[in-house]
């Protein structure tokens, strides 16, 4: 039992944090709100800077040219990405799509974009429910329409579709389909609907393998959303603590009032206790521990609740200035709201925990 990161893991996280500090400032995010670049998430210099660290290839074995690392490294990196509300899908590419490609046995060709092609990828066509993934892609003639894709401008999408013989997983290239952008509150999420054609060439898995990979993909998406939520939560609390220490009313900093202190302390406590659960779930996933599913639902439920609370009290403690579009808070808060609900909100994951505990108890000898 040693529940902490290694020096090497922290060094890697800090290297990514340093790049993020240069390339993902609140000013950059305000700029993105004002003027979304259509190539963002592909050739954008910020993505290139991150890609060049090799993070997208983190899960690819060294023999195939990757870093040969796992979720124990990536979870801390993902938390750092959340802290700056990174728009690009670093967590989703490195923590969801690439590990599924590796697990599917896809060859070098499929992995190539993430080794040296600048590839960014997200998961779509599926949503979390307490009783298992539900496919949301719908048939549209010979084509398939997949809505609710995040970072729709990324180069690749791992997409689920239903077929007569069960679920299938495809790796689609954005450029090969027709993309319609959807506007959402957090504009930096760049949602969209992709209408595309599944072919033998795009098919990654079908039958029982596809079902297994789909379970894993959705669990991974939930875990990495939880990791980003930790970072967002921390960033909102830090921003707010600094503000209430400066802002004066009645001649004193408003942060000296207990009502304000207790709001922020409550949020800080929730973060403090969500964090180990997220790290532990990453460990369970990396080591293929039988409790991984349980641990991921635990992590996501705690992180979603912690982020909701942090967003709520951060806005309240900022007062009216936090309610403005020009303030940095909304950049963090809107992402937190979106990720809190994404891939299963707190209640859905608690419902799955109950399902799991009930199943566990029913197989115990009486």
């Amino acid at each position: 039992m040693r529940f902490s990161f290694t020096e090497e893991q922290l060094v890697l996280r800090d290297a990514v944090t340093a790049v993020l500090a240069d390339w993902c400032t609140p000013g950059d995010l305000h700029e993105l709100y004002a003027n979304d670049a259509p190539d963002a998430g592909r050739s954008h210099p910020r993505w290139n800077a991150l890609f060049n660290l090799g993070i997208t290839a983190l899960h690819i074995p060294e023999v195939d040219g990757g870093l040969g690392l796992d979720d124990r490294e990536l979870i801390a990196i993902s938390e750092a990405a959340g802290r700056v509300a990174l728009p690009e899908p670093l967590s989703e590419t490195a923590g969801v799509v690439v590990p599924i490609l590796v697990a599917s046995g896809a060859g070098h060709h499929a992995l190539e974009p993430f080794l040296d092609g600048g590839g960014a990828a997200t998961l779509g066509g599926v949503t979390f429910t307490p009783s298992g993934p539900r496919i949301t892609s719908v048939a549209d003639g010979d084509r398939v329409r997949t809505s609710g894709i995040t970072q729709a401008t990324a180069s690749h999408h791992l997409l689920a579709v239903s077929s007569a013989s069960g679920p299938e997983l495809h790796l689609a290239v954005t450029a090969d389909g027709d993309l319609t952008r959807t506007t959402s509150l957090d504009r930096t999420r760049r949602l969209g609907t992709l209408t595309w054609t599944p072919t033998d060439a795009t098919r990654l898995a079908s039958g029982p393998l596809a079902a297994t990979l789909l379970d894993q993909a959705v669990d991974r998406a939930a875990l990495y959303s939880a990791a980003e939520l930790l970072g967002l939560c921390d960033a909102m609390i830090t921003l707010t603590a600094a503000y209430v220490s400066e802002r004066k009313q009645f001649g004193v900093p408003v942060g000296s009032f207990q009502a304000v202190k207790h709001h922020l302390a409550g949020a800080r406590v929730k973060l403090e206790f969500a964090r180990p659960a997220v790290y532990a779930a990453a460990w369970s996933l990396a080591t293929e521990h039988p409790s991984a599913t349980h641990d991921i639902s635990l992590a996501k439920s705690l992180a979603s609740d912690a982020a909701d609370e942090a967003a709520r009290v951060s806005l309240q403690c900022h007062g009216a200035i936090g309610y403005t579009f020009e303030h940095d808070l909304h950049l963090l808060m809107k992402r937190a709201w979106a990720l809190s609900a994404a891939w299963g909100d707190a209640r859905s994951h608690r419902a799955r925990l109950l399902n799991l505990l009930q199943a566990e108890r029913s197989v115990l000898p009486s």
Binding site: M1, S4, Q9, L264, A265, A282, L298, R347
Partner: protein, 394 residues
């Protein structure tokens, strides 16, 4: 990062489990520890634990321990609660005073007190709060005046858990009346049978005398029973407070065990009495939230234990921890009472011809004291805000 236990840990767990399964008395066999008879029942069990070297596993062997690490202590605690072990009558001594003793006591003091503390021969109570010094602990007015070979203690302490039946008391008294607030306080180890000590038991919510007021009228305490140095009482006391709020008082096992029972209770509640099993229902969500918090506390404790083992100290995080475990405890038991509905208030057969609070109701009343004792959660939130977030003091 490695969340598995070593084979040595597993062997330790199995040894503890085997002993506990064979020796923990069945539920209800011991009378309530907040009664004179129950106090003695629990001391008899403490003696059994001590004789088998399970009462204080992390302590030096010389005082009855096994000199094992914090992980083994957590494992023992998990097994203790798994086996349904009774509430520890010696907890104020072994969990609160002992860490402070190991930091500040002289060899002679350790020799004099630790083994008897570990065996339950001497039960300790805490003499900190006063009628006008609760959350504002630095407002202590009880005083100690120097006399030949020792000190004369006078004043009033209150809310002393176990005070009605305890043999010894650890308390803070003002030794320098001219010093302000945190200065001029000294930590004393006091025999409760000394002339001048008067105990007035106080009945708690459940009607039993779990705590007491203690009056001191020129009570003589010899110099060798000062813990730490004269005037340094606040610093010594804060070491105890850190233990009280940190991981040594409330191991996560209490909560994970209770939360597992809560899930069992939910699953055993008939669906046709309110659709409790529908995972969308409010009560199912409340239960699972309590379960998730108990699990979160366990994982947080493993992380803290790793830090402690690697030489870090627990500072203001202890305040965050105290808020979390105390509120988790309330949430677990409140959810259980909600599941029991209107039958929750009923007492149950105590097996001795009378009735007693049900396990859940007793647990709820106990849990409700958590956010109040060891520094109210409001004070802890101030500490989290000021020391973890850097917010300005009022």
């Amino acid at each position: 990062m490695d969340l598995t236990f070593t084979p040595e840990h597993d062997a330790f767990r199995m040894e503890a489990r085997a002993w506990l399964e064979a020796n923990v008395p069945p539920p209800g066999a011991l009378r309530s520890l907040d009664t004179a008879e129950g106090f003695d029942d629990h001391r008899v069990f403490e003696r059994q634990l001590f004789d088998a070297r399970w009462s204080v596993v992390s302590w030096p062997k010389a005082y009855g321990g096994r000199e094992v690490g914090i992980m083994e202590w957590l494992i023992f605690e998990e097994e203790y609660y798994r086996a349904g072990g009774p509430r520890r009558v010696s907890q104020n001594g072994i969990f609160l005073l002992a860490p402070t003793m190991f930091e500040y006591a002289t060899d002679a003091q350790l020799e004099r007190y630790m083994a008897k503390m570990a065996s339950g021969e001497e039960i300790w109570c805490q003499g900190w709060s006063e009628p006008d010094a609760g959350s504002d602990l630095a407002g202590i007015r009880s005083k100690a005046t120097k006399t030949d070979g020792g000190w004369l203690l006078s004043g009033q302490k209150t809310w002393c858990s176990r005070g009605a039946f305890a043999h010894r008391c650890f308390g803070i008294f003002r030794t320098d009346p001219s010093a302000e607030r945190h200065r001029g306080l000294t930590y004393f180890l006091i025999p409760m049978d000394a002339p001048g000590v008067t105990v007035r038991p106080i009945a708690q919510l459940d009607g039993e005398t779990g705590f007491a007021e203690v009056f001191f009228d020129e009570v003589f305490v010899p110099d060798e029973d000062v813990l730490g140095t004269i005037g340094d009482g606040w610093k010594v006391a804060m070491a105890t407070a850190g233990s009280e709020r940190g991981i040594s008082l409330r191991s996560p096992a209490r909560y994970t065990e209770a939360a597992d029972k809560l899930v069992d209770l939910l699953l055993a509640t008939p669906v046709d009495e309110g659709h409790h099993l529908d995972p969308r229902s409010a009560i199912a969500d409340e239960v699972m939230k309590a379960y998730a918090d108990a699990q979160a506390y366990k994982l947080h404790t493993y992380m803290t234990a790793t830090k402690v083992r690697e030489g870090h100290t627990v500072g203001a995080e202890a305040s965050a921890t105290k808020i979390f475990w105390s509120e988790t405890d309330v949430a677990i038991h409140r959810a259980a009472l909600r599941l029991l509905g209107e039958s929750a208030e009923l007492e149950v057969d105590d097996g001795r011809g009378g009735t007693d609070l049900s396990e859940w109701l007793d647990g709820y009343l106990f849990a409700l004291s958590g956010p109040i004792y060891a520094g109210t959660n409001e004070i802890q939130r101030n500490v989290v805000a000021e020391r973890m977030l850097g917010l300005p003091r009022a």
